[in-house]
């Protein structure tokens, strides 16, 4: 069963790198959606079925935190796995993200091997769902 993915980051380079890393990890990818900020990310989630979100935090228009808070407040999306990929280094912010139930936190710059561990977690969640 394939995974539909949403990648949310204001950098098109980062979106391309994340998509490429996912493809190279032999993840059974379905549709790969991209959004440049939290608002666009929510728009995609309203119209497309997504199995996992990879999200940056510092973005214009709507931040990743604001987007995740709205995801968790939406009954239809509340359990959607979200992986944060960010430059954020503050433990206060990271703890807040964890309290929002994120699946994993990956700090930039990330190594492809770190992605593999997270992908295994996502696949376990997907199979359990």
């Amino acid at each position: 069963m394939s995974l539909n993915v949403l990648i949310v980051d204001d950098s098109s380079i980062v979106r391309s790198v994340v998509a490429k890393t996912l493809r190279m990890a032999d993840l059974p990818l379905g549709d790969v959606h991209q959004a440049a900020n939290g608002r666009e990310g929510l728009d995609v989630l309203e119209s497309e079925w997504v199995d996992v979100v990879f999200a940056d935090i510092n973005m214009p228009v709507m931040t990743g935190v604001e987007m995740i808070e709205q995801i968790r407040a939406n009954d239809k999306l509340a359990k959607l796995p979200v992986v944060v990929v960010s430059t954020e280094g503050s433990q206060t912010r990271i703890e807040h993200l964890k309290s929002l139930g994120i699946t994993a936190y990956l700090r930039k710059p990330f190594q492809p091997e770190q992605f593999r561990e997270i992908i295994n977690t996502i696949l376990e969640l997907h199979h359990a769902a």
């Binding site: 204001d10 950098s11 098109s12 380079i13 980062v14 391309s16 790198v17 490429k20 510092n58 973005m59 214009p60 960010s86 430059t87 954020e88 280094g89 503050s90 433990q91 206060t92 912010r93 700090r107 930039k108 710059p109 990330f110 190594q111």
Partner: protein, 154 residues
Amino acid sequence: MPPESTIELESVFCEVLETLAFMFGDAVDKDEIPTSVEDVLEATITFTGAKQGKLSLVASRGIAMELAANALGVDVDDDEADEGAQDALGELMNVTLGQLLTAIEGNTEVFDLNPPNVTAQPDSATWEQYLDDPQSVAFVVDDHPVIIRFETEE
């Protein structure tokens, strides 16, 4: 810039370059880089929070295209590298600043990073301004000269 911040900047910038784009940089004395460089990109990113400030960089378009090419896994002559050059430089600044603030301030302080701003500077005036600034630090990255400046206010 306090000496300890300079040391952290040198270390963080080189580590980020290597991890993000498989490129290798070294901090150098300013007399080892050109005194004028035209057609450069200037990238700035500001931050607020526990402190506020700005990280700024000036570099040739060539290094930005190499950054994009390496990050995307394409040839530097590929259209994708040219199209992604400014974005790649902005992301380099974003990641460097995030890591730098943690290195200097620790992981308890909260900072908000604004989106990076990258502009093309056709003549050498901007390069020369950075070179003349005593707060700036010079690097050579895969044979390309780069100048960076980190400023903070309490």
